[in-house]
Symmetry: C2
Amino acid sequence: MAKTLHSRFDCTPGCSVEAAVSLISGKWKCVVLWYLLEEGTLRFNELRRRIENITQRMLTNQLRELEIDGLIHREVYAQVPPKVEYSLTQRGRELTPILMALKAWGDAHIDLFGKDGIAGKPYAVAADEGA
Amino acid sequence: MAKTLHSRFDCTPGCSVEAAVSLISGKWKCVVLWYLLEEGTLRFNELRRRIENITQRMLTNQLRELEIDGLIHREVYAQVPPKVEYSLTQRGRELTPILMALKAWGDAHIDLFGKDGIAGKPYAVAADEGA
DNA sequence: GCTACTAGTATCAAAAAGGATACCGCCATG
DNA sequence: CATGGCGGTATCCTTTTTGATACTAGTAGC
């Protein structure tokens, strides 16, 4: 299977695959992206309540990084009490195929992740069908 | 755009998207996967020479993790000098759509990553087209 | 007056990831 | 005899990431 697709591959260090992965590698980023994809627009505490277990610091953190990377939009309303809404940018919405592919793969191989899921590390059960 | 896809989304903490991402989040993992996808089977030092800048320790490390996750196959030949061949498992090959989607996105938004690429952090240039 | 809500910060500590370097046995080559 | 290729380990250290906790300002409700 190797030789055929050879042409368009060029994963030198710093390639676009690496780059794209790095944008969604934060511990909670894909969850945030997923919720925003699902619900369109959410306020800070709405996200916080949905995600559960995430600390305020981490949520702020992940949101900031996603914003810096141009994947989400942050809308601040000059009110009191404060109101801040988060939504996907166009660029963020374009991640959809990636998220879908990830989900498809994850669902197909869900057996890898024991009952404790990815959080609890031991997703072993190596598959040696060789090459 | 939100309401329509609602049905098959269920990104609770530990969802399959998170899980899948975590398997390719290592610093060199997607590069390794890419090379194996491209070339089919490679020996340890062949990978090492291709990747450049990776230390022996990190390569061993990433390969071990990929093996544990069932994405690559490690074939040891009882020779001297030693010979160890790495290749993708079926499960690993099924990552292809993900890698492709990542590459497509990365290529489309390559402008995000300044001349120093992802390695040098500052991929700013936020895009505020709102939602 | 006390409480809670909003969307955060600040500070500290712990854990995980990554990097540098040196070393291993064994063989072939020079 | 020294060197290099092979596929790693072992050890130590630094950086990055994540987590826990406490704090902020201004308003509303009790």
